[in-house]
């Protein structure tokens, strides 16, 4: 399995607050091969976001500290490589789709401004250079790729002028700016209504398939797992308790915890209208 694009090996993370050290991840291991669609599922507080932040180098240390383990990307350990090298990968070759479209965009800058700023510094880290015009062109290109109907208008807009679904598309576009090979999505669209969320998941899936990207989908929703992944890791209290190809997991969950998750969660897409209204808040 060492040829996986992303390989988290035996990762343990703890938080120290007010002198008390509390382990949060206990030897988590997972693999995301190139072009594969992997899901990480677990209830709230199980450590999914902490896993994602460790991978993306977003943990605030302190209070967090990584007590053991390795995170291999392309065979190189992100945790031991020089910071400069790591910054060349995060946000560019491995990129994030953020969860909350309402709060993940800066309210006082236009979409174009925010996207081209990201692109500018990504280019700089990678030693590339692009003129302002070329950057703008790339921004519009990516906005069109996420099926935005009027990219120019969206680019000129402030977040407040866009609907939730459109903002979530912008967040996806941001992740695609530097042509990543790995997308990590932490509960994308959970803040949206069910119909829009389904559209967003469909879009994400299409994009990932079209461009042959690897996807690590982080969610607490097994309906989302079924729709978007081929392989799934189930996490509980900072431990991966079960892993299996998605179909197998649904057919024959081995662990009681997984069984409970499957029973608890209604299906998301393909739901009949009656079920849909039921599921909506």
């Amino acid at each position: 399995m060492s040829d996986a694009l992303l390989s988290v090996r035996d990762l343990s993370v703890e938080f120290t607050t007010y002198g008390r050290t509390q382990p949060v991840l206990h030897g988590v291991s997972l693999d995301v091969p190139a072009r594969s669609h992997v899901a990480l599922v677990g209830e709230s507080g199980s450590g999914k976001t902490v896993t994602m932040k460790s991978i993306m180098g977003l943990l605030h240390m302190p209070p967090a500290s990584i007590s053991s383990g390795a995170i291999l990307y392309d065979g190189r350990d992100l945790l031991t490589m020089p910071r400069r090298e790591r910054l060349k990968l995060t946000g560019t070759d491995m990129s994030m789709v953020f969860q909350d479209p309402m709060s993940s965009l800066n309210p006082v800058f236009t979409i174009a401004d925010q996207m081209s700023t990201i692109l500018k510094y990504a280019d700089r880290r990678l030693g590339r250079s692009r003129s302002r015009r070329e950057r703008m062109q790339r921004v519009l290109e990516v906005l069109a790729q996420v099926r935005m109907r009027e990219p120019e208008r969206v680019a000129r807009s402030y977040p407040i002028m866009l609907s939730g679904g459109m903002r979530q598309r912008v967040l996806i576009a941001m992740a695609l700016l530097s042509e990543p090979r790995l997308l990590i999505a932490d509960e994308p669209g959970t803040a949206l209504d069910v119909t829009t969320q389904a559209q967003i998941l469909k879009l994400l899936k299409d994009l990932v398939e079209e461009r042959g990207l690897a996807l690590l989908m982080i969610t607490h929703n097994l309906g989302v797992v079924r729709e978007t992944s081929d392989y799934v890791y189930v996490m509980h209290k900072g431990v991966v308790v079960e892993e299996a190809p998605t179909a197998e997991l649904f057919a024959a969950p081995k662990v009681a915890y997984t069984r409970a998750l499957i029973d608890a969660v209604p299906r998301l897409t393909g739901a009949r209208p009656a079920e849909r209204t039921e599921a909506a808040p």
Binding site: M56, L58, L87, T90, G91, T92, S95, M96, F98, D100, S103, S104, L105, N106, P107, V108, F109, Q114, T117, I118, Y121, A122, R125, Y158, I160, M161, L171, M174
Partner: protein
């Protein structure tokens, strides 16, 4: 569009407030014991002379009528005649207002240019020593009365160290007087007189610093808490994940959304700033509205009192209008919706 409506609403409100202000001051000024005519003429004047002057000033008419006459004058931009200087109040105020304006503008400049960066520094090094230092400075400058600071600075910089002048606006018998705008710093540039600019600056420094300290402390405090608020927002975390460098995140992504609260506070603080300006002007013998305003109040020079109050009120309203515009410029949410959130 929404923003225009928002501004229009603010202007209408301000006008209403100004009308209210004029009534309240008018009534208070007349309710205070003491006869303006008697005070103007002195104890030796006869009863007939006093009655004559009262009649001339319209003081014998009902107060509603007096107010009506005042408003009619105001609508024509005429504030009437001062009993004290026996000149039109308009002229008296024009001569003194520019000095006050220059002092106040310099104060706002210092408060913002020093206060906001201090707040940024404090927020960036939250709970570390720069933060503690800034917080200490902010508290001290906020609780030190400006007249006390003014005296302190005057003694220290003027009499002990002899580095800055302590009274006036320009050296005595200086061959330069502000013309076009009435502001020494601006007019000296227009006139191509760098020496006058420097002199003006030297004289302006102490009064402006004394007056700015309290507001600067407020700016630093508000900017700090606002920055800390914004720093925990998802969009800041997101820009970190996308590899936007730290200084861009702090100075652009965090600062701009943090800028509205300090601006708003500046608008609110402005009223007490004008009040403090009067005190500071007296300490530094700054030829602004203060000395005039206080003399007229003591003398019950009714027209002049009303004039000073109304000009201060309009000044307050205008500054707040400019701040509203700036807020709209900084935060598109205000521009688009006419409000935040």
């Amino acid at each position: 569009m929404e923003f225009l409506r928002f501004l229009l609403r603010r202007v209408l409100w301000s006008l209403l407030v100004l009308v209210g202000l004029s009534m309240v001051i008018f009534i208070i000024a007349r309710a205070v014991p003491g006869d303006p005519a008697r005070m103007a003429l002195g104890p030796t004047a006869t009863q007939e002379q006093v009655a004559d002057l009262q009649k001339k000033l319209g003081l014998d008419r009902p107060i509603v009528e007096q107010y009506g006459l005042f408003v009619v004058g105001l609508a024509h931009g005429d504030l009437g005649r001062s009993l004290l200087t026996e000149r039109p109040v308009n002229d008296d105020i024009r001569d003194t207002f520019a000095a006050t304006l220059e002092l106040v503008l310099a104060t706002i400049f210092i408060a913002v240019v020093c206060g906001v960066p201090l707040g940024v520094v404090a927020a960036y090094w939250k709970d570390r020593w720069p933060d503690n230092a800034v917080r200490l400075v902010a508290i001290f400058s906020a609780v030190t009365p400006s007249f006390f600071l003014a005296l302190l600075l005057q003694i220290l910089a003027g009499y002990v160290l002899h580095i800055l002048p302590t009274t006036g606006r320009l050296p005595p018998n200086f061959d330069f007087a502000p013309g076009y705008t009435g502001l020494v710093l601006v007019d000296s540039i227009i006139a191509g007189r760098p020496d006058a600019f420097l002199e003006g600056l030297r004289y302006l420094l102490l009064p402006a610093i004394s007056l700015a300290a309290a507001t600067m402390g407020q700016m630093a405090r508000i900017t700090r808490s606002s920055m800390i608020d914004v720093s925990s927002q998802d969009y800041i975390e997101a820009s970190r994940a996308f590899g936007v460098p730290e200084w861009v995140r702090v100075c652009k992504y965090m600062l701009r959304p943090s800028f509205v609260p300090p601006l708003t506070i500046l608008g609110l603080e402005f009223a007490s700033l004008i009040g403090n300006a009067f005190v500071v002007e007296l300490v530094f013998a700054w030829p602004g509205m203060a000395a005039y305003g206080i003399r007229t109040i003591l003398q019950k020079d009714l027209n002049a009192v009303m004039g000073v109050v109304m000009v201060s009120g309009v000044f307050f309203v205008l500054v707040n209008l400019v701040i509203d515009l700036l807020v709209g410029l900084v935060d598109p949410r205000v521009r688009i919706r006419g409000s935040r959130q």
